[in-house]
Amino acid sequence: MSEPTEDSVRAEVRAWLEANWKPDYGLVEWRLKLCESGWGAPHWPKQWYGRGLPVKFNSVVDEEFARVGAVGVAKAGIRTLAAATILEHGTDLHKEKFLKRILTGEDTWCQLFSEPGSGSDMAGAVTRADKQGNKWVINGQKVWTTSAHKAHWGLLLARANWDVPKHKGLAYFILDMKQPGVQVHPLKQMNNHASFNQVFFTDAIVEPEFLVSDVGDGWTVATTTLMHERRGADGLRTWAQATGRKGRIYDEERAEIATTMEPYKWYPQRAGRVDLVLPRARETGKIDDPVIRQEIARLLCLSKAAEWTARRARAAQDQGKPQGPEGSLGKLVSSHVARQAARVHTYITGSDALLSGADSPMAGVIAEILISVPATSIAGGTDEIQRNIISERVLKMPKEPSVDTTKPFKDVPRNITAS
């Protein structure tokens, strides 16, 4: 068979959709057809619900789906990170049991990595995994767990060996969230939302076959999950947006998206809402203030240069060039953009920025920007960690001398946490 091209992939998916797509399917029923045909996750292996196509063709397939209004597989939330990790490190049993139900949207997932005592230093996790008989018994606490209260399954990083250095003693598990040993409590944030959870384990059980890594390799597997988080699971993970279309399958999809996206509803405000700056400046007349004009212009310089830097990185990738430094900067730059946007919104809003909710501009949206932006430079790797990554991986600068990576983890000073 000849190499697939953009045109050949487009023709093939178009023909398949013409023959198969009908909006009166049930959501799961239709997605089972996607699993069967491989068009739901075309870059996955043929054996596991994909078509083994290069990832660059995903956008072509997406375009064709959008053209006829066909619904895709479940793409939002942590489930796609679970899928990517399982595809790379899981056993056939894991693939058999989980992948299809991820694509159909029947199962939802959460990521149990961060702990109260280990944020940036994620490999310093102290949640315990102890072998009792042939089962694993889990005790400890995780935090910042998006959607844990809804999740069927969790990706768990826990310490199984305390006598080796920290990166060597971790194991990676798939944990059944619906069991008595798992308790989930919401975590209220400074912007009043509670998008994340605290998860407590008291003798929670993991069956032996749900150990994903060997003990000691948990960190490697976690790195895979994090890498997929950074690159959006190769486009499979999206910020889902519901369509306004009518029909059973669209209603089901809308309900699914509403549930999955609920924790993320303040994320646009977290990024600073650059889109609101010029309209708000005009509306308030602040557009004529020369000082504010300078600040707005600074923001537009940042946000445009950030957008063009991302486009440069993508263009180089499409050309098959090795990744240049421009591909590693987006996270840090987004913090600069968000902070400058919050500053500008404050200047534009004046005294009204003292208020929130119904008393404040745009029914609280501006207030929500001002108290959500601080999350940007923390979530998903702090600015400080981003700078370390850039300086060590891109600029090849030496690491700070380390005090915790060579001795047994049990001897490493660490935070006192409630257990």
Partner: protein, 376 residues
Amino acid sequence: MRFSFSAEQDEFRTSLRRALEARSPTKEVRRLMATENGFDREGWQKLNQEMGLTAVHIPEAYGGSGFGFGELGIVLEEMGRNLLCAPYFSTAVLATTAILNASTEEQKKALLPGIASGEVTATLAFSEDSGLNDAASVAMTATPSGGTYKLDGIKSFVLDGHTADLIVVLARKPGSTGEDGLSFFTVDGKAAGLERRPLKTMDETRKLARLTFKGVAARLLGAEGQAAPAFARTMQQIVICLANEMVGGAERLREDALAYVKMRMQFGRSIASFQTTKNKAADMLVDVEMAKSAAYYAAAALDEGDDDLAAIASLAKATAAEAYLQTAIHAVQMHGGIGFTWDNDTHLWFKRAKSSEILFGDANYHRELMMRAWAA
């Protein structure tokens, strides 16, 4: 919009970088910047002809190679990186864009082949003693005189103004104001009544001159009194070109400072292992890459005729201005005491960063222009 360079463009950059590194080491930069002319005519002509540099973006019909601003941007970025001492920006950017934007077909055929071949050096004179960069600030008058014109007044901050063979001059009809009555003229560098005084510059690699015109014979370029749109377009092209030159210098400073901290040992370890140094280096990379993105985008926008050019040009200049100077400040700091010495090369680029920050309008000026274009 084009967001990456082709394999041919990358190859062109590589060979140009190699040629400039061989011909213009900092020792040579230091030798030439100490001379009044600021360049070596023979050496420059040889390099220019070998690499076809002034011909790059001149259309083939006028003796050039017919490439776009993308390729011109590459040349400028490499020259900024190398601090090449040559009248390139004045000739290939200032004079050439003005001629291309303002002249008749016949005039282009007469003027551009000499520039493309490298025989003629040229510049554009628009600023006067006020140092302002807008059309309205032009006071120099052009009086008709038997088919040609006589120019009277002062031009200042003229790049390579004391050495250029050909000077393109922006002047106005006596009594006109604002953007009305402006025309471009050409003047011979050796014309009678023209007095050229080299100015002492803070950035010695960038030579400026003050020109006094007393009844100097000049030839009109294009239509009389209609130069304002061509000047506006020329300014957009000039600042985009300068932004591309600037990011080349900024990247060089960043790389040199990084190499230095990796080598420098204090407290028994490389100073590159301290987080305070690493954070600075990461921030420098962000600044430079963002400025590169804006400069490259702006050059592509010129080639592709983007509607937002006025805003994009100013955005690129403002971004490059802040990034280059900030990089220079960090670079001196990262070198410590040695970075403040004359013998260390960092100050050469620091001064280029400072002169580029100001030349053709600083960041505040361009941010305001950007707002006028985007927000009215």
